[in-house]
Amino acid sequence: MNKIGTEKIISIYWFVILFIVAAAIVYMTASFYGKPYDTRQIEVELLSDKAADCISYAGFLREGVLTQGFNDNFLETCDINFGAEDSYGWTDESEYFLQINFYDFDSYQDASQNSLFEVSAGNQKLKDFCQLKGKSFPICLERRFYTLDKDGEKYIVKINSAVKKIEKNSQ
């Protein structure tokens, strides 16, 4: 019996299967390596640390921190630049947000109480998305630390920082 026909069909079928498997591997590889690394957790921690270094040095609040002038010139005073590259419309709205609240140490219960003084800069809208988790939302961080002023008054300082930059980190 002539069995050449059967073998030819199976060979073609074999290569079709091979092609499908290869296509799936290529898709998975391109999918994984096409996505960016999400480094915003590091970036938001660095932003928080930078703000803390600006406010407090050697255990004490820096001079002039609890003044309106500090709030008005916060970014220049702290050598922070919220400008970003001109991609994905990042120059239209800031991709960062920073807010610092000062509380009296002895009466501090939790973050919901009113603060003695507040400083903020950047895109205020990012704060509203901080409760939400997902690849289309900014990464937020809330940290606190204890400090004194030169008169011995004690404060709790709460720093809220947020980084958006979604297109280069999670999409």
Partner: protein
């Protein structure tokens, strides 16, 4: 004798079953490759064991500068008395447990503040005078934070049994005040 008259299944059926198996495995693989659990590996979080907490360190410096009612700062109190007292012990609880417990697995035992003492011995009992970084650190228990956590770094450059951050400030040649934060 009963004869088995079952026919041999054709090769085509074998290929159909193989195709189904291949398609199922591919579907699962594509799903896993696109899923969040794999993509989580693309979230970079810095070193696995965080070695410093900048804000906790700042709090530590301020804590040591905090004066009591007589004007004596906490650093001097610790240096003179050798362990935590009522003022700086409660103050330490107010500062470190209140501010950082949530950040460190919400376990109060993960926040420890107390005195550590450098010895002149390595873990194996040999002298460490030529290799000071291997000298074992003993600790003093206190009534505010208890005992220093087990498994934490017991030499200057010893291994981390657990994720552990610390800030140590020298009081004298052998004694230091250490803030130990475990679990992040």
């Amino acid at each position: 004798m009963r004869q088995n008259k079952n026919g041999q299944i054709g090769e085509t059926m074998t290929w159909i079953v193989a195709t189904i198996i291949i398609v199922v495995i591919l579907t699962i693989s594509i799903f896993i490759a696109s899923s969040a659990s794999v993509l989580k590996s693309k979230i970079i979080q810095g070193s696995y064991f965080q070695t410093a907490d900048v804000l906790a360190s700042k709090s530590m410096f301020s804590y040591l500068l905090t004066p009591d009612s007589s004007g004596k700062i906490t650093h001097t109190q610790l240096k003179e008395e050798g362990n935590l007292n009522e003022f700086n012990g409660n103050s330490g609880l107010q500062v470190f447990r209140r501010l950082y417990q949530d950040d460190y697995l919400n376990n109060p035992n993960n926040i420890w503040l107390g005195i550590v003492i450098k010895t002149e011995e390595k873990v194996n009992g040999e002298s460490c005078l030529n290799e000071k970084e291997f000298c074992v650190l003993n600790s003093l228990e206190n009534s505010f934070f208890g005992k220093r956590p087990i498994g934490s770094r017991n030499t200057e450059i010893g291994y981390h049994a657990i994720p552990y951050t610390s800030e140590k400030i020298k009081l004298n040649e052998t004694h230091s005040i250490e803030l130990s934060l475990t679990g992040k």
